[in-house]
């Protein structure tokens, strides 16, 4: 008895009861499409967070003055009251740490920018000329200020798109003047639009000036709050983190028992934490959908058991005319595998359709995952075998004499 004949027999048997076959498949169809749709929602979220984090900067590290706990006084990182991060520290990092490619300080001054009769309150950030490279942020028109501007504390400014739109509606701001605290600044460039950060803040609502200028002319203080550092590679971020910590501890003359008076955060860590959160969400969504797949499998077993009882006489006939037990068992097993696998394939198509429709209808990003598709196919085949085996064995174990007598 070759397997092809048995497969043929199984298909003929299923074709004799199309309605029931279709209803049985429905459970698997819903289960598989739910798994695929849910996993693509999860993966879509993951991919978009990933992209946003990538967008924050190149192999980014974040140094802030102060720490969670300095001398028993708890203070937030980047507190303006601390004086533990200096321009000299950053110069030292740039010079002495080999795994660091670029450094930019970031001093923040909440300021009102005025142009003609328009004004706009925003955060004015004092940065170095390396800022665009560190933060992966390009200039759209004009240019970024140069190292000489930083050295000479020049009154130059680069605007974010939101400010450009609000202070210079309809005109090119490059070459014009804005006033900050009554000091005129020359607009040398406008940054490209960056959009929202992962927390939903408008990153384009910002103005950039040399940090020296902001320190001397606006804040009147040499304090640095935070700095961004770009490591030479993704892997080097961890080395850079350790080396910066060592260097700063040495420069700040901290003894082994002293806590850090600064904080170095590796954005790769942040990215990984965000990734982990999203993986957990993906697994959660997938497992909930998986439960429906399991229920679908139990549905198959139920129908197959009913089918074996209902077709007892048929099984008797088949055995009487020469079907071996193994042929009967294989036939019923194949029937349930065909049901679950066909259901699985239809479910994949529906799942992909749903994954493509969700961004259009709900605006959520989705990413159809190949592993979810392969997993669903394997799982539905496994469901067919697992839940089909018991009914098939029951059918094969029937006694032909009893089965023929069954009414």
């Amino acid at each position: 008895m070759n397997i092809l004949s048995i497969i043929r027999i199984a298909f003929l048997a299923l074709a004799r009861n199309k309605m029931r076959a279709a209803l049985t498949m429905l459970g698997i169809i819903i289960g598989v499409s739910a798994v695929i749709a849910m996993v693509s929602i999860g993966q879509g979220a993951q991919a978009s967070v990933q992209a946003q984090i990538e967008n924050m900067g190149t192999n980014l590290l974040f140094i802030s003055a102060g720490a969670q706990n300095v001398g028993g006084v708890r203070s937030g990182a980047g507190d303006t009251g601390t004086n533990t991060l200096t321009a000299e520290d950053l110069d030292a990092i740039r010079r002495e740490v080999p795994s660091v490619a670029m450094v930019t300080p970031n001093v923040n001054a909440r300021s009102q920018l005025v142009s003609g009769n328009l004004n706009w309150s925003t955060s004015l950030q004092g940065v170095s000329e390396q800022f665009p490279d560190v933060r992966k942020w390009t200039v759209q028109s004009g240019e970024f200020f140069a190292e000489t501007d930083v050295r000479t504390a020049a009154r130059v400014i680069v605007l974010g798109q939101t400010i450009a739109d609000n202070l210079f509606p309809g005109t090119d701001p490059v070459g014009q003047t804005v006033r900050v605290m009554n000091l005129p600044f020359r607009v040398v460039g406008v940054m490209a639009r960056k959009g929202q950060d992962p927390q939903g803040r408008d990153q384009d609502d910002t103005a950039l000036a040399p940090y020296t200028t902001v320190q001397k002319k606006i804040l009147g203080s040499p304090r640095l709050q935070i700095a961004y550092v770009s490591a030479i590679s993704q892997d080097a971020t961890y080395t850079a983190q350790a080396q910066i910590t060592d260097l700063l501890r040495q420069r700040h003359k901290l003894s082994a028992s002293d806590a850090n008076d600064f904080t170095v955060r590796n954005m790769t860590d942040v990215a990984e934490a965000a990734n982990e959160t999203n993986s957990i969400m993906t697994i959660l969504l997938g497992s909930i959908a998986g439960v429906s797949l399991l229920v679908g499998g139990i549905g198959i077993m139920n129908i197959m058991l009913v089918s074996v009882t209902e077709r007892t006489r048929e099984i008797g006939i088949r055995m009487a005319i020469g079907a071996r037990s193994s042929a009967v068992r294989t036939q019923f097993l194949i029937e349930s595998i065909v049901l679950s696998l066909t259901g699985g394939l239809v479910g994949i198509v529906l799942g992909i359709v749903a994954s493509l429709a969700i961004p259009l209808m709900l605006g959520w990003p989705t990413l159809v995952s190949t592993s979810a598709i392969i997993g669903s196919v394997l799982f539905s085949a496994a469901v067919g075998i697992f839940f089909g085996y018991y009914p098939a064995r029951k059918a094969a174990g029937l006694d032909p004499i009893e089965a023929l007598r069954y009414e």
Binding site: I9, L12, R16, A320, I321, G322, A323, R324, I401
Partner: protein
């Protein structure tokens, strides 16, 4: 009418007897001291108490007996659906009394054809597919399967009805599909279990006509289980069971001739379409 019957009968009788009584006739079935005991709870039921029976190639044997006489048990053993508790059964030269379940399935497939009282066709399956079924289990390729099934259906007078489903066929036609199905693997023996039990008398004669034709023209060995004496009269030999033993075994001097009787019956309107 009587006269015609008298003239026709001896010829039939001769051919059947010649086959059965040839000294070198090959036995298809040899049952030797077959015992079958069922255990129902604590009670042992002796269904067969030492049955010995030889059926030669070309014989048409009717097995009779009341219910509980052991004829159905004998039928199941001959049909390799069941195994004897004790004794030897040689089918077509092969000892089948100790075979496993799978080996018996293969024997049923290749050496035996079954015709049942309730027809036992697969529903929602065409006549052709029903007839092809035993060949599907015998791994016969599609072309030959189709050809042999078509031939078998034609030989029982169902040409043109190949694609009808059982519910579109009359009882007599369904039984003829079942006969065609029993023939396709060219078995050594056809077993018919009360084949006319669900049929009216005219259709019964039609079915017996097919059996007689297969027996006479193709020399197919037939074993028919029935409790109707008039049906048993179409056979060339009658074996009567009682209380798990053979009570009577005799050749029929002049079996009834189904095709002759059909010719003499008044025509009826065929309303089977």
């Amino acid at each position: 009418m009587q006269a015609i019957l008298e003239i026709e009968r001896p010829e039939v009788e001769m051919s059947a007897r010649q086959l059965a009584q040839q000294p070198d006739a090959r036995p298809v079935i040899r049952l030797d001291q077959i015992h079958k005991t069922y255990t129902m709870g604590d009670v042992e039921v002796h269904a067969l108490r030492g049955v010995s029976l030889t059926i030669n190639e070309g014989e048409f044997v009717a097995i009779m007996g009341t219910s509980g006489s052991g004829k159905s048990t004998t039928m199941n053993i001959i049909g390799c659906l069941d195994r004897p508790t004790r004794g030897t059964y040689i089918l077509d030269g092969q000892d089948v009394s100790e075979l496993s379940k799978d080996e018996r399935a293969d024997i049923r497939n290749r050496k035996l054809g079954f015709v049942f009282q309730g027809f036992n066709l697969l529903s929602r399956t065409s006549a052709l597919e029903n007839v092809e079924l035993p060949m599907l289990y015998a791994d016969i390729d599609a072309t030959e399967r189709h050809a042999r099934a078509m031939d078998a259906l034609a030989s029982v007078g169902l040409a043109g009805r190949e694609h009808n489903h059982p519910n579109q066929l009359s009882g007599g036609q369904q039984q003829r599909v079942a006969i065609a199905r029993s023939l396709v693997n060219r078995p050594a023996l056809i077993l018919a279990d009360e084949p006319t039990g669900n049929l009216d008398s005219r259709t019964s004669i039609e079915v017996m006509e097919i059996f007689q034709k297969l027996n006479r023209e193709q020399g197919i060995t037939l074993v028919l289980v029935t409790h109707e004496p008039d049906i048993a009269e179409y056979a060339t030999r009658v074996v009567v069971f009682k209380d798990g033993r053979i009570k009577e075994d005799h050749n029929v001097a002049s079996p009834r001739d189904a095709s002759l009787e059909l010719r003499l019956l008044p025509d009826v309107e065929e309303d089977e379409d």
